[in-house]
Amino acid sequence: MPIGGFVIQIDAAARPEVLAPLGKMPEVEVYGDDGKGNLVAVLDCDTSQRMEKVVEEIAAVGGVFNVGLVYIHAEDEVASIAAGDYVPSRRTHPRREQ
């Protein structure tokens, strides 16, 4: 279950319009902002795939310019890879002979 720290760059004049929809996203916590258009947010998602989706949803909010990931923690995902519980990629095409 990855946790990501993000800087969301927004139109400072549209702060209320941006914060309203973000507040309705259950996996998003906004920790603060600088009044110049930089929001600090944390995403706590079940999977990294879900995190990608949430990032897309944030990016689609009017007044959002950029959603920048600056920190990610995925210890349990690494542990599941190491344990063989989670295989990150798999062969999907038949082997081609030389």
Partner: protein, 795 residues
């Protein structure tokens, strides 16, 4: 507060620190105890930007990566690739033991390192005995550590007496090298990323940096957002994600940018926007192969490129008005920074295109001052440090020394303690000639290190034929199976980033140390150990003590820290003194204290501890410029080794189109490039699930007008065919490429979607860099949408 809350607050604090926000709740104290037990400083592995980061370890296992707010390269930002590459450490697909097969139609057998090194030595020695020294070759990578590239080329040149030393930067940066050397007399940019925060105008040409260099792009984004008056010009036949930042997008017919750049120069002179004092003090005009001409002759040569004539050549949205606007913005700003990459370099006239960008800076004096630079972006993390500086191309020895210069070659031989004359005076085979040599059976043994030419060479099928030959011994060192390991006889598993120690030198002349933090999986080894052990066996096979001498200084050193440090010391202390890339001050001791690394020139440790040289050639900022000033009253001293007259050259270069222009049979321009989530041939990023899910396969971008004309709907399967081959992709119908042009992402390793089966292998006559970016093709709809799956090569 549970552990998850600790981690979340750490994430918030890390993000907040980048933008200088003080968060409530006293999180600063809490964060100190949170999450990873140890953080190890190093750099990113997945592009040329050189982002500083830290790998977090918990119980000795990698669990996180984070940016560092005061970083001089990335200001703490990381992209998705850079944030996730720790997943490749311990990945189940990693190569973990040597694999061998005598014939390429046989299955691989696991063998011991002893057996593997014996085979490698026997095969290379056998080729030398039977076919001569130039029947063997090394093909490396801009992702190898400097220590690795340096040691490989030392053994090849000084030991095996061949300059057949190449690397994949030939495919991406060679034209930039040629441009810098011929215009400025010195390779690599004069300025730094720090100029971004000072620039008033950005000229982005031939670069989709939003995807290829996302962190540097974020610095531009920040600059523009905080200073809306800053102008951004984006010149590209395709509207890319980078274009969203532009105030002015110049969309021209592929290949006509040489005319466009000449037209901007014409406007600059016509409207007297040039800087006569800068030109008089520092520049000369050149034509042909170096004939000196005067300003009047140069100006007259530009009359073929008036805005009106050029608009007709360029097509697209280019009008006389936009050319004039671009030239005025470029010339009048307090500081103009040009940034470019493969769209300029991967061209038959790549060196000339580089020259013409430099011309604009030289005419206007937009150089050597804050915010002004002619700045070539680099594609790989160590194309500059390892390959360009460390001797990784067939014509360059360590320390930017041309092979053909006897005195410089002898300096290297003396430093290595080998007889003069041991290094051949003639450059070796450049990349395209090397693989042509493989095709022809002239190269009998080739060592391919950390790269996949079977996928990344243009016209790839032609060169895969050669690699399949059973009379050519192919040795691959890598961390994962690739399209090239499929063609190997011997695969040697190597350590990955943070599993070994060494230096990367990024785009802005910055060398940064990444130490070993975790053990490599299975029997994987650092390359420096592999080369040393191989060379010792090679010496015995060939009965040549000089080969042994090339690795003698490193005998017995443990490979994780002492060995790379000894190699780095030899290279920097013996071979960079007196050269423009003086790295003598950047010792491991200093680099360990300087997580941001050191920018050369940095002749002493005391100077290196300041961070080194932010802007070359400027007195007061560059110690070599100060030393070389010799009574000059001028602020800039252009001491570049390639121009004995210490002048900057403004080149007369005419517009020449692409090697293959569209015609009746192949009426469409084809271009290609990177997508943000994948790196090169996706052998690494394709194994990171979040990245693969984001872009599971390549697709073709088609202009809506072309799509309508050809009856292509979104997601239809479209065949792309050139004179060299064909591939099939799902269609994305988008106002991206201009009408008459298609664009394909090149990372996909699926046999049906490898675009380099189609691309053009004509190359620049100077830099020998191929024209990946422009070729002629035809496209047709072959079916409606089809279910596709991602593909990664496995053993």
């Amino acid at each position: 507060m549970d552990r998850r809350d600790f981690i979340k607050r750490t994430a918030a604090l890390t993000a907040a620190s980048y933008v200088g926000i003080n968060l409530p709740h006293g999180l600063g104290n809490l964060a100190q105890g949170a999450d990873a037990e140890t953080w190890v400083a190093g750099t990113c592995r997945l592009c040329g930007v050189g982002c500083r980061l830290e790998l977090g370890l918990s119980k000795g296992k990698p669990v996180a990566l984070r940016g560092i707010a005061d970083s001089r390269t990335n200001l703490g930002y990381l992209c998705m690739k850079g944030t996730l590459f720790y997943q490749l450490i311990g990945h189940p697909d990693r190569l973990t033991q040597p694999l061998y097969r005598a014939r390429k139609d046989q299955p691989f057998q696991a063998i011991s390192w002893e057996q593997a090194l014996d085979i490698a030595a026997r095969e290379f020695a056998g080729a030398v005995k039977a076919h001569g020294n130039d029947s063997v070759a090394y093909y490396g990578s801009g992702q190898c550590l400097t220590e690795e590239t340096y040691l490989f080329q030392k053994v090849m040149r000084g030991g095996l007496q061949t300059n057949n030393v190449e690397g994949n930067p030939r495919l991406c940066m060679a034209s930039a090298v040629g441009g810098y050397l011929s215009s400025f007399g010195a390779d690599e940019p004069i300025g730094s990323y720090a100029d971004i925060e000072k620039a008033e105008c950005f000229f982005l040409i031939g670069s989709n940096m939003a995807e290829a260099h996302p962190v540097v792009f974020r610095r531009l984004l920040k600059r523009k957002r905080e200073n809306p008056a800053v102008k951004v010009i984006n010149a590209d036949p395709r509207i890319s994600p980078t274009s969203r930042l532009a105030d002015l997008h110049l969309q021209f017919r592929p290949g006509t940018d040489l005319a466009l750049l000449n037209a901007m120069a014409w406007v600059i002179l016509e409207e007297k926007l040039h800087d006569p004092a800068f030109i008089d003090d520092y520049c000369v005009f050149k034509a042909g192969k170096g004939d000196t001409i005067d300003l009047a002759a140069f100006r007259a040569s530009l009359d073929a490129y008036t805005p009106e004539k050029t608009a007709a050549i360029c097509g697209g949205n280019i009008t006389p008005g936009v050319i004039r606007t671009a030239a005025r913005w470029f010339a009048r700003s307090a500081g103009t920074m040009s940034l470019w990459c493969m769209g300029i370099n991967q061209r038959r006239q790549g060196v000339w295109a580089n020259n013409l960008i430099h011309n604009l800076h030289l005419l206007t004096g937009q150089l050597c001052k804050p915010g002004a630079d002619s700045f070539s972006l680099t594609g790989q993390p160590n194309a500059c440090g390892g390959v360009r500086e460390g001797g990784g191309l067939c014509h360059i020895l360590p320390g930017h020394r041309p092979v053909v210069k006897d005195a410089l070659r002898h300096q290297v031989e003396d430093a290595w303690g080998i007889p003069r004359g041991r290094i051949p005076a003639k450059p070796g085979l450049h990349t395209m000639a090397m693989f042509q040599g493989v095709n022809e059976g002239k190269v009998k043994a080739i060592w391919i290190n950390c790269t996949s030419p079977a996928q990344s060479l243009p016209n790839a099928d032609l060169y895969r034929k050669g690699l399949r030959r059973d009379d050519v011994f192919v040795l691959c060192t890598d961390i994962f199976p690739t399209r090239t390991t499929e063609l190997a006889n011997l695969i040697l598993p190597t350590a990955f980033h943070f599993e070994k120690t060494g230096v990367y030198g990024c785009t802005e002349r910055r060398s940064q140390l990444t130490p070993k933090a975790v053990d490599a999986p299975g029997q994987a080894k650092p390359e420096v150990w592999i080369v040393r052990e191989w060379a010792q066996r090679l010496a015995k096979e060939l009965g040549d003590p000089v080969i042994a001498r090339t690795v003698e200084p490193f005998a017995g050193l443990e490979p994780d820290a002492a060995l790379p440090e000894a190699i780095w010391n030899e290279y920097t202390q013996k071979l960079t003194g007196g050269r423009d890339n003086d790295l003598r001050g950047a010792t491991y001791k200093v680099l360990r204290q300087m997580p941001d690394g050191v920018q050369w020139p940095a002749p002493t440790e005391a100077y290196a501890l300041t961070g080194g040289t932010v802007r070359k050639f400027v007195r007061g900022l560059d110690p070599i410029a100060d030393e070389e000033a010799k009574g000059s009253d001028k602020p800039f001293i252009f001491y570049g080794p390639a121009h004995a007259d210490r002048k900057l050259y403004i080149w007369q270069r005419k517009y020449v189109g692409a090697a293959e222009e569209p015609d009746q049979d192949y009426p469409v321009y084809l271009s290609n490039g990177r997508i943000v989530d994948h790196w090169h041939t996706s052998s690494m990023t394709g194994r990171i699930p979040a990245l693969m899910r984001a872009n599971p396969y390549a697709y073709i971008e088609i202009n809506p007008k072309d799509a309508a004309r050809l009856g292509i709907a979104p997601n239809d399967m479209v065949e792309v065919e050139s004179r060299r081959g064909k591939t099939t992709f799902p269609a994305k119908v988008i106002e991206g490429p201009m009408e008459g042009m298609v664009f394909v992402y090149w990372h996909d390793m699926d046999e049906e979607r490898m675009i380099n089966k189609v691309t053009m292998d004509a190359y620049d006559p100077g830099s020998k860099e191929p024209e990946f970016k422009i070729s002629a093709c035809r496209i047709r709809r072959v079916s409606g949408p089809k279910a596709l799956k991602p593909f990664i090569v496995k053993l």
